[in-house]
Amino acid sequence: MPEWGERHTTLEMIVQELQRPVRLDETFERRVMVRVRRLHAERRSRGWIAIASRITHRPGWAAALAASVVAVVTLGLLRGRPAEGERRGPAPLEPVQFVLVAPDAHSVAVVGDFNDWGLNDGALIATNHEGVWSVTAPVPAGVHRYAFLVNGKQWVADPSAPRASDDDFGMPSSALVVEDSTR
């Protein structure tokens, strides 16, 4: 869920910015001590009530700022939350063997939603053993769609797997359910 990840990264940046120590100039300590001595002298002469009245505070601004931060962060979290049922983390990978009997094929590859349908050169290349093409690859647990790409151009559904009913693009594909072996 990259949106969630991006939002999380940005929130971390905010936290880091707020946690970064303030760089103080060299005269800071001297100025503080001057102020403390002055306050100390005033306390002796006027008592605690007078000191309290000198402390500058703007509750309205502080409350508005706090509310703004809380609202923005909360809304960001809500908008960026994973959908109901969406995985909270990466699904475990399980080895899956894909097999296609295609004696006349020159090449067979497997493309599916687990490798972005072969975009970005991610197709799984099957090896040939007397016309029986196979490849084993780690696939995330869950439900997937895939197909065999024969000779680099012909889309073939896996005859031994359930059909994917939603072949909207006129090319057959198959459904695969990979069980999570850690459960």
Partner: protein, 208 residues
């Protein structure tokens, strides 16, 4: 940087955190024309707002691009899938997993009424994943098994506590029977009775 400036920069960063929610998913990329990209961004936003998993929608985009479909066709496919996943999501309720929703959407696409999927979900309880049963239901209905016969078969299997390996075997035997010329309804009804005692087949794809 004093505290006021830091607070302002923090707010600016927070505003930046808000902005990407409306930005284009980078995976849509520039492979599609601008109107199609805009339509897909709107569909993905709509799906997120409804609590629908968006990964299957993104993969539908990738599938269309890989096949070479044009933008409008990809948008139409994603719109259909969004609608079917929303229907499935409503029928299954908030306890459904993303995989169950996707599998149920396939069954809806094949013609199974969503209300029947909801009944199976209620019958099965929370612990039993229905991802494979819904996937198999979509498959056998798309092979010609009447919806009622398919639903009854899957419901009886789930009700009997059939395991996923049994249901995988059921799918293979039913599809094999149909390919050999058996009436689809008869194949589903007959094979459903035998599943709990059946032995799982080891055909591909084989999870190792």
């Amino acid at each position: 940087m004093n505290r006021s400036a830091r607070a302002v920069s923090a707010l600016a960063l927070a505003a930046a955190a808000w902005a990407p929610a409306r930005a284009q998913d980078p995976r849509i990329g520039n492979r599609l024309d601008a109107p199609s990209r805009a339509a897909l961004v709107a569909l993905l936003d709509s799906a997120r707002a409804q609590g629908i998993p968006v990964e299957p929608l993104m993969q539908k985009v990738n599938q269309g691009v890989a096949i070479g479909a044009d933008g409008p066709r990809i948008v139409a496919a994603v719109r259909t899938l969004t609608r079917e996943m929303a229907t499935a999501h409503r029928a299954l309720g908030t306890v459904a997993t993303a995989d169950e929703i996707q599998a149920a959407a396939s069954a809806v696409h094949a013609g199974v009424p969503a209300v029947e999927l909801g009944k199976i979900k209620k019958q099965s309880g929370l612990r039993r994943s229905l991802t494979l049963p819904f996937t198999v239901l979509a498959d056998i209905v798309s092979r010609g098994v009447p919806v009622e016969a398919g639903v009854n078969a899957i419901r009886s299997l789930v009700g009997a506590g059939a395991k996923d390996t049994d249901i995988n075997n059921f799918q293979r035997t039913v599809s094999g029977d149909i390919e050999k010329g058996a009436p689809p309804a008869a194949a589903a009804e007959t094979r459903a009775k035998a599943v709990p005692a059946g032995k799982p087949d080891d055909s591909a794809p084989q999870q190792l």
